[in-house]
């Protein structure tokens, strides 16, 4: 086997390794997978680097190998090409169009899972609120204050002063992402573009939405923000 072939095989392997490493360095792993896998990703980048090096070592036994077809190399380099060429964007409004959204409460099992978390970070997230809403009637949350971060979502069902502040829940990678959201009232909701990330504060009040009473956040303050470093919620 020629040395050129070895180099050809090494390129996509090292490219994937470098791509994973750069994701970690740019603090962007959380855009794609649960951050608990960051260490695993780092180890993988290192492992791929070693594999690449092993290709380039001089053959002691002259093990015979065939050339690797170009098409395979192209396919393996594809994630790197797409990852670098397409500006990364967290799952957002366009991913919600074909998914079921939980906006009133979470199902009881998801609640028991979510409530095992401590609210240690101080701020309750959308997920925390949703799981609380499962525990009592909508009116019992009247007057509670909340500050939430999420992206703007609405569709034809929404009135012009209403949108949903939404996040995706990711338990492993973006493939299992499922959206959750809270309905909020805000004058000028229809001026906000879909997918705009916002930080909002206000108080809850039980109101009718599509025929059921649910707690709806009456927004008093809205700030447009950049997508956070960890765009998803992790149960």
């Amino acid at each position: 086997m020629t040395y050129l072939n070895k180099i050809l095989k090494t390129i996509p392997i090292l490219a994937v390794s470098a791509f994973l490493y750069s994701l970690i360095m740019r603090d962007m792993v959380a855009m794609y997978i649960h951050p608990r896998f960051t260490m695993l990703t780092l180890i993988t980048a290192l492992g791929l680097f070693l594999v690449g090096v092993s290709f380039l070592r001089p053959d002691r036994k002259r093990l015979h190998e065939h050339a690797t077809p170009w098409a395979i190399l192209l396919v393996v380099a594809l994630p790197v090409v797409l990852g670098w060429m397409v500006p990364p964007r967290p799952l957002g409004a366009s991913a919600m169009e074909n998914r079921e959204v939980n906006y009133a409460t979470l199902s009881s099992n998801a609640v028991s899972r979510a409530t095992t978390q401590e609210f240690s970070s101080g701020e309750k997230t959308i997920l925390d609120w949703l799981s609380q809403f499962g525990t009592g009637p909508a009116a019992s949350f009247n007057g509670e204050e909340a500050t939430l971060v999420g992206f703007v979502y609405y569709d034809d069902l929404f009135e012009s002063d209403t949108f949903m502040v939404s996040r995706f829940i990711v338990s492993c990678c973006t493939a299992d992402g499922s959206p959750v959201g809270l309905i909020v009232r805000y004058e000028g909701s229809d001026q906000l573009p879909l997918d705009q990330w916002v930080e909002i504060s206000g108080t809850f009040e039980a109101q009718d939405f599509n025929g059921t009473d649910i707690p709806i956040l009456q927004v008093t303050e809205l700030k447009e923000i950049e997508p956070p470093r960890q765009p998803y919620l992790y149960p």
Partner: protein, 352 residues
């Protein structure tokens, strides 16, 4: 177990085919055309095509980045097996009794904890070492579920109960049965020959013999190198499979699918289709299945958890690297029928 000699001949008569005749290239074209078509239609309808495309990329990279560590681990394990384990050892370990052998294959995952991405290169390597077909098939289908990690995650999601035990029992039985189907088949009818499309024809070479006399350090480097070949070889299937799964995730309306519902039969079909399409790693699918508990039957949730790890878009594409095409179809259809059957039995004859 003369797989390697039959492969020898196969490999010798295969000069390098031109690139447009290669599977990988055709796959690539097919995916490109599919993407083009979908976005063409989409932009005609005036929806946010670029946003969709970004969503597609985000999901694709999510699956890929999540799966790469496990594929690499499986590949390196495969390389280590090649260098350090002799074919005779495999012959000694596998029981002579065919039933016992297939059963061992179905529970071997507890000894080799590999998930659905890692299991394929390992199985292929073990076949190269002369592992009986039935054992390998049972292992391939069962190992992604029957291992300690999945046991822990299923327990965390569902606790002790019918789902946890059902998941393991059903998986072991089905993997065992399908393994038995392959008992009398001949390897040359079943296994992929190493053709021009395959970068590493280790089959024609007994690396184990070659590596004798190398120092431990060199042996480990050789293992890495062999594992790297496996990684490239399997990686293409993983990548194309993840792309197809991401396409499905971007365009198949899950809400509509899930709204289909709760009937004893429809629910099973729905969740099996969903398991196939989503291609989620078996270590976390239990958490996703939790969200179906209220609206779906127990049998259908069980089928989601047993069928998904055996067969989904990305793993069935990876099967192409091990088995002939026709056999891959069997390996999709048989688990589908048996898992569906198991789910229906549970729905109709138990009160779970």
């Amino acid at each position: 177990m003369n797989i390697s000699s039959s492969r020898n001949q196969a490999a010798k008569r295969s000069p390098q085919a031109p690139f447009w005749q290669m599977d990988s290239f055709r796959f690539l074209m097919a995916v490109a055309i599919l993407i083009g078509l979908v976005f063409g239609v989409n932009s005609l309808l005036g929806t946010d095509a670029y946003g969709r495309f970004q969503t597609f990329v985000t999901i694709f990279l999510g699956i890929f980045i999540e799966a790469v560590p496990f594929l690499l681990a499986g590949s390196i394990l495969s390389g280590l097996l090649e260098i350090f384990v002799s074919p005779e050892t495999i012959g000694r370990i596998v029981p002579r009794n065919k039933w016992a052998a297939a059963l061992i294959g179905a529970v071997m995952g507890f000894a080799f904890p590999v998930c659905e991405c890692g299991v394929v290169p390992v199985t292929r390597r073990l076949y190269g070492k002369g592992l009986p077909l039935s054992v390998g098939v049972a292992f391939l289908l069962a190992a992604p579920t029957v291992n300690p990690v999945v046991f822990a995650s299923t327990y965390a999601a569902f606790g002790w109960g019918p789902i946890l035990f059902g998941r393991f029992v059903v998986t072991i039985i089905i993997a065992f049965l399908i393994g038995m189907v392959f008992t009398f088949a001949r390897p040359e009818d079943i296994l992929q020959e190493s053709g021009a499309d395959e970068p590493s024809d280790y089959h024609e070479h007994n690396y184990y013999a070659d590596a004798q006399g190398l120092s431990i350090r060199d042996k480990i480097w050789e293992s890495m190198s062999i594992g790297g070949n496996d990684f490239l070889d399997m990686g293409r299937y993983l990548i194309i499979g993840s792309m197809m799964a991401a396409l499905m995730q971007t365009f198949v309306p899950q809400a509509t699918l899930l709204a289909l519902g709760s009937g004893a039969v429809v629910s099973v079909v729905t969740l099996m289709v969903l398991a196939f399409v989503l291609s989620i790693c078996s270590t976390v699918d239990a958490f996703l299945a939790l969200s179906f508990v209220n609206s779906f039957t127990t049998g259908s949730i069980l089928s989601f958890l047993t069928f998904g790890p055996m067969v989904d878009i990305k793993s069935s594409l990876m099967f192409l690297g091990v088995f002939k095409r026709k056999i891959v179809v069997y390996l999709i259809v048989l688990p589908m029928m048996l898992n569906g059957l198991a789910a229906l039995i549970i729905n109709f004859y138990t009160s779970w």
